[in-house]
């Protein structure tokens, strides 16, 4: 029975991949997020740009119709059958997504954990994204700085089934601990990144109850950031400082109007653009990942590459897209030399 395991039906595909490597063509990259979410909208553009510039056969953004682990796995299996030979995957679950990646690996198809990491040991080439914990830490630091180092903050974060949530909670706690008692973490509300209504209700309930005790808000998930920004605008309170996450229009507009201090940008465009490029190099030109490259490490993996994260305050908030592209260009300069070994 065990030998059956090795003989994968992807033999055909494997042959295609090897053939492709020889001809240096026909690289089809699939960019698979965990489900429909505005965060990934920039992936599509990133993939498209990479396709044009690096001559990939395809770099397609393929979204599972719902946020379901099973659905994402099915989708990956489907795409394999359709002949995709390079995958950028946002792990629906840091542990469980290793399984479809292992399937890909045994069919000779490389994959990169993108925008979020899989937990080591992982078949992913590496993890390319934002260090969620670090981002939350930096955001909290920015918030504390804006508050002048003292006051009371609250933390709104994502779903508890996502281990990133725990990382974010730890990171905020660490930043608070480093404030030497100047900052108090009043409360953390989690499990509010599923639907906008849920986030809206709980955040407003807290602001209603404890609003006058609260001096700062740190959010480390998309929907809570949007809801908090909306709530602060609604109250019209610029006393409470807030640092959000990501680049939703609502958050950016609130930054511009002074209701939100800033947001922790991630770089989805760059993730897709550089990720697709790496696939072209590896699948199309036989490059390999340099195991001795200066990877960073985080709570999940030791092979982490930062796609660039940064604080976006009111300065230059209008052309944050260009900020992302600049960050991407900066990364691109040294990427091949640092992380890949090519024949």
């Amino acid at each position: 029975m065990m030998n059956v395991k090795g003989i994968l039906a992807g033999a055909l595909l494997g042959a295609a991949v090897l053939g492709g490597a020889a001809q240096a063509a026909d690289v089809k990259v699939a960019l698979v997020p965990g489900g429909p979410h505005p965060y990934f909208a920039n992936w599509e553009q990133g993939g498209r740009d990479a396709m044009k510039e690096f001559g990939l056969k395809a770099a397609d953004y393929r979204v599972p119709a719902k946020w379901e682990l099973g659905l994402q796995n099915q989708m990956i299996e489907n795409l394999t059958a359709q002949g995709y030979n390079g995958f950028l995957i946002f792990p629906g679950d840091p542990v469980a997504t290793n399984s479809p990646m292992a399937d890909l690996q045994s069919a000779g198809i490389p994959s990169i954990a993108t925008a979020g990491c899989t937990k080591d040991p992982s078949p992913a080439l590496f993890c390319f994204g934002t260090d969620t914990g670090h981002s939350a830490y930096l955001g909290a630091k920015e918030l504390i700085k804006a508050m002048g180092g003292k006051g009371t903050i609250v933390h709104f974060t994502g779903n508890l089934v996502d281990p990133n949530t725990q990382l974010r909670m730890d990171a905020v706690a660490q930043a608070v601990a480093e404030s030497n008692g100047g900052i108090k973490l009043l409360q953390t509300i989690a499990d509010i990144d599923r639907t906008p209504q849920e986030a809206d209700e709980k955040i407003n309930a807290l602001l209603a109850a404890r609003g006058k005790d609260i001096d700062g808000i740190i959010t480390s998930a998309w929907l809570p950031a949007v809801s908090s920004a909306t709530a602060l605008r609604r109250i019209g309170d610029k006393r409470i400082k807030m640092v959000g996450i990501d680049h939703d229009k609502v958050v950016l507009a609130a930054i511009k109007d002074g209701f939100v201090h800033g947001t922790m940008l991630q770089n989805p465009y760059g993730q897709a653009y550089i990720g697709s490029y790496v696939m072209e190099e590896i699948v199309g030109h036989g490059c390999k990942v340099n195991d001795k490259a200066p990877f960073k490490s985080n709570a999940l993996t030791k092979r982490f590459i930062d796609s660039g994260t940064g604080f976006q305050g009111i300065d230059g908030v209008d052309d944050f897209q260009n900020t992302m592209k600049a960050v991407t260009a900066e990364l691109m300069k040294t990427f091949k030399a640092t992380y890949l070994i090519c024949p």
Partner: protein, 323 residues
């Protein structure tokens, strides 16, 4: 006296007690509970939830189910947002557009259920997928941000201590209570839900009742969808995703029977309030996020169990012929 006794027997009294006691306890523990802002927060949530809960309620009343409720709300929300952002329709036109879409979705559910003779469960399961798919298809999972300022203002403005959305929700609640309690088509709907074949023999048309209830449900889903847009200030294709369970929970906690024939509008309102009160308490008492789910479940069970206990004390439990 008679009215008083009837009130005592109604399914709502126990729930009202739970709400009052819970509210009182919470306001003692957290005086901020009674601030105008917080009452506004509760009411805003209430206004939205009660509308879609009633949207499910009218379907439960005829013994059917509408799994496509959230998907209808979602489709209306994004159509409403899209009509304003992409087509640049004025608000009133977008509202009418949204209402029509909602009613059409409901009508389709009702018509298919009636014509096919299949259970509404399976029909609305399929249409849920269709409606949700269209919403995702036209938005590509991106929210529409181009919501008119007047709509945003409606979602956030207050009228004294009361949110403006109450101006929509309250007439709907009262209207529906009158519709089901006093108006002939409403009574006929409940009669049909209670005993379809008997209702038919009394000259009540099956087709009309099924289509009426489903269309009404679609209409309420549409209103709730557009209220979500006003509240959230954007038309997100994630609107409606969490409606399903909540929409069943509130009427059922409020005493509705899933087999049909009964819907208490007041009970449904109280059911919504109980759930939101529990959520409020969990936030206000700063419960560790890891305990929230456990307590939420335990409190729902407790609240419903308490009501059931009172009912059986009153000899008012649903008439079970055994033991």
């Amino acid at each position: 006296m008679n009215a008083f006794r009837r009130m005592l027997r109604s399914d709502s009294l126990g729930l009202a007690l739970v709400v009052l006691l819970g509210g009182a306890a919470l306001s003692i523990a957290r005086p901020e509970f009674l601030t105008a802002y917080n009452i506004d927060v509760i009411l805003v949530g209430f206004c939205l939830t009660v509308i879609y809960a009633l949207g499910q309620g009218v379907i439960i009343a005829i013994g059917h189910m509408n799994l496509a409720l959230g998907a209808t709300g979602c489709l209306v929300a994004v159509s409403f947002g899209g009509a304003m952002q992409v087509w640049g329709l004025p608000v009133w036109a977008a509202v009418i557009f949204g209402l029509l879409i909602g009613m059409f979705c409901g009508f389709v559910n009702g018509w298919l259920t009636h014509k096919s003779g299949l259970t509404s469960f399976i029909i609305t399961l399929a249409t849920m997928s269709i409606f949700k798919g269209i919403s995702l298809g036209i938005t590509e999972a991106q929210p529409f941000y181009g919501v008119a300022e007047s709509v945003k203002a409606f979602g956030s403005d207050r009228w004294g201590p009361l949110p403006e959305t109450l101006l929509v929700a309250l007439p709907i609640v009262i209207g529906l209570a009158v519709f089901l309690g006093r108006m002939i088509p409403g009574r006929q709907m409940l009669a049909f839900g209670g005993n379809p074949s008997a209702a038919e023999l009394s000259g009540i048309s099956r087709a009309r009742m099924v289509i009426l209830a489903h269309t009404l449900s679609g209409l309420l889903a549409a209103i709730a969808g557009m209220m979500s847009v006003a509240r959230l200030q954007l038309a997100s294709p994630a609107i409606g995703d969490e409606w399903l369970i909540a929409s069943f929970a509130a009427p059922v906690i409020g005493g509705a029977v899933l087999s049909g024939g009964h819907l208490s509008v007041l009970g449904t309102c109280l059911g919504v309030l109980i759930v939101s009160l529990i959520n409020q308490a969990l936030v206000m008492l700063a419960v560790d996020p890891f305990y929230v789910q456990v307590l939420l479940g335990a409190l729902i069970l407790g609240a419903v169990g308490l009501n059931r206990l009172r009912e059986s004390r009153m000899g008012n439990a649903p008439v079970l012929r055994l033991s």
